[in-house]
Every structure is written in structure tokens, then in C-alpha cells.
Subunit: 207 residues, 2 copies
Amino acid sequence: MDFNFNSPLLENAVSELSKLPGIGSKTALRLALHLLRQDKEVADALGKSIIRMREEISYCHRCHNISETPECPICADRKRDQTTVCVVENVKDVITVEATHVHHGLYHVLGGLITPLEGIAPSDIEIDSLVERVKNEGIKEVILALSPTMEGDTTNYYIYRKLSDLPVRVSLLARGLSIGNELEYTDELTLGRSIQDRVLFSDTFHK
Amino acid sequence: MDFNFNSPLLENAVSELSKLPGIGSKTALRLALHLLRQDKEVADALGKSIIRMREEISYCHRCHNISETPECPICADRKRDQTTVCVVENVKDVITVEATHVHHGLYHVLGGLITPLEGIAPSDIEIDSLVERVKNEGIKEVILALSPTMEGDTTNYYIYRKLSDLPVRVSLLARGLSIGNELEYTDELTLGRSIQDRVLFSDTFHK
């Protein structure tokens, strides 16, 4: 439908909002009209928070996670295990892994996965810098925490080969049953893998 | 889940974004991380468009539609029929009715519907100003274009009573079948109404 907003300012805000992923023009209009109904401070705070975030956040020179300082708070935290590095695809995965409170080491954000079909080669993501870190930072274990997809597996294998000559343990997140899901609804590949990788029951007591 | 963003700026943007209706904290994070990946100009344009829109748009003193000028472009357009006023609930409904290209008159935005349960009384919405316009602006027809709901019907009836002593025709949007919908799936009330309000087939030829 061709809408006439009778206001270039509204039209502009709707157009900018609808550039966001998953926000169509109808949702954008709903959001803009919502903001028009709020106090000026609400729109002001939202607009400024977006501008400032993009302006002032950059990337950690070590792990490539987002950071407001040259070295991110995780890398800078000397209480964390400096010898264990968890390799993730993107910034969001750092937040997701952190939320488990199980990993106490550092991170390395690849910024993507090797995806030949989309033209993403190993040199387009932060693999060389990972190898450098392993060589220079005394890292003892690299935990591969990429998605269990074709691209994730390809990237895992590529990194594994790159690190094979270095004195570092390369581990992979376990594949298995999702906690809370019925066995019946688990796909065959995952179920098969969970049988192959079964663990001693007594070993699970203190985890 | 309790997320640690490791960046107050990101956290702030996510918190502001998640104040928007229908945007939860996960979507807000996705939007914020998307903006971080774009050029600075993208976040800048979005942020500024929101701030400017809220700052500079206000309301037409005549019809209460949003406007960047004291009188909105629709009211100011002398080519439009100044004697027919379409009464709508909100600003979005003006855009929706305009998109039909069928109404060539003016509008009157109530800013809500009479809703006793939520404490919205007739005096809380722009009914008195509508009556004043009918008295002073030579309006010959008021088209009630409110939603066919309990609140819409209540408001329709209230306005109808308020205008009953004035020399103005008060009309209502037709209720009937939705074009393109199967008869089978039309609810009984609407179907019954469409029978009562049936029109001469020959009258539909030139509409």
C-alpha cells in the first residue's frame, strides 16, 4: 500500500526504522507513532543511545569482541583463565556463553564462519589472529564453540588443522540431547552422537 | 536470562530499544548488534530521525492530526472538500483512510475512543472540538470511521447524539462482507448486517 504520511519527518523516521532487520514498514509506522505519543525525552534517549553506541563502541584488539576500550573488560580481567580461549562466531555468542557462567577463560570472536557459497573465506574471518594468539599468549586450550552446522563444522576443521602443529589442546562443545527435550523428538544424528559420546554417569555428579 | 553485555553503551541502547512496543530484550539486542555492524551513518540517521520527528512534529489545531505546521497539509488543502469531515480514532487511521483515495474531505482525529473501563471519558477525547467545528466551519457531513467494536460503537452513538440538533448529516462506514473473503468464514453478525444493509446491484456499477 502506498502511504501518504503528510509529514516528511514521520516518513523519514519510518523509512529509517524499516531498514532494521525484521521491521517492515507497517511495524516501523507503529513504532514511530508510538514514539510520537511518548514524552520528548523517550525519543531523545532512544535516538542518542543508538548514535552513541555506534560512535563509541569499537572492537577489542585481542579477542575482537565489542569494547569501549582498546582491550575489552573480559581480556583485561586478570582473574580470568588466560590459558583457555573460547572461539565463537560473533559478539552475540560471547554474551550467550557468558550467560552460562561455565566458561572462565577468554574469547576469540571470528566475525563469521567459512562459507564458500557466500564468498566468506578463511582469510575473511579472524583465524590468523587466533593462530597468532595461540603462538604468543601461552594458550593451553582452544574451545571451539561454533554452531553445529555445515559452516560451523567446516570452520572447526579448518581451525583444528591450523593449530595441529602447535602445543595446544583443541576441544569441541559436546553434541547431545537438549536438556528438557523428549528423547522421541531428538533427531537421529544428534541421538547417534550422544550414544557415541556417552559419559560415565558417575562423572556427571559434580558438574 | 541475565545477560552481561560487557558494554554499558550497548546495554543502554538495548534497554532503550526494548521499551518499544513488541520489541523484547532479545530482539533489541539483535537490532543493536545489527546497527553496530553498519556504517556510522546508518545509526546516526536512525537516531537523528527519531529525535527530530518527536521534536518537530506537533498536532494540527483544527483536526488534531500530526503536523509539522500549525495547520496540517490536509486541512490547508483548499482543493479538498471542506464540508465533509471523516472522524477517526487516531493518526494511523488518517493514513489508512487516505490510502483508499476515496475520501476527499477533511479529518477529525479523536485521539482515542470512549472506554469507561480504562477511564477514557468523552471529555478526554476531541469530541467537543468536533462539535465546535461542525457549528463554525459549515460542515455538511460527518463520516464516522471508527472501528466496529464496542468502544467504537459507544463513541459513534455519543457523537451522533451530540450532533443531533445540528444541521449536519452523520454517516457511518458500511458494515458487510470483506472483499475477497469466503462467505462461509464471515461471522454471523456481519453477514446479518450485510443482508439488512444490502444495496441495489445496479447502484454498484459506477462505484
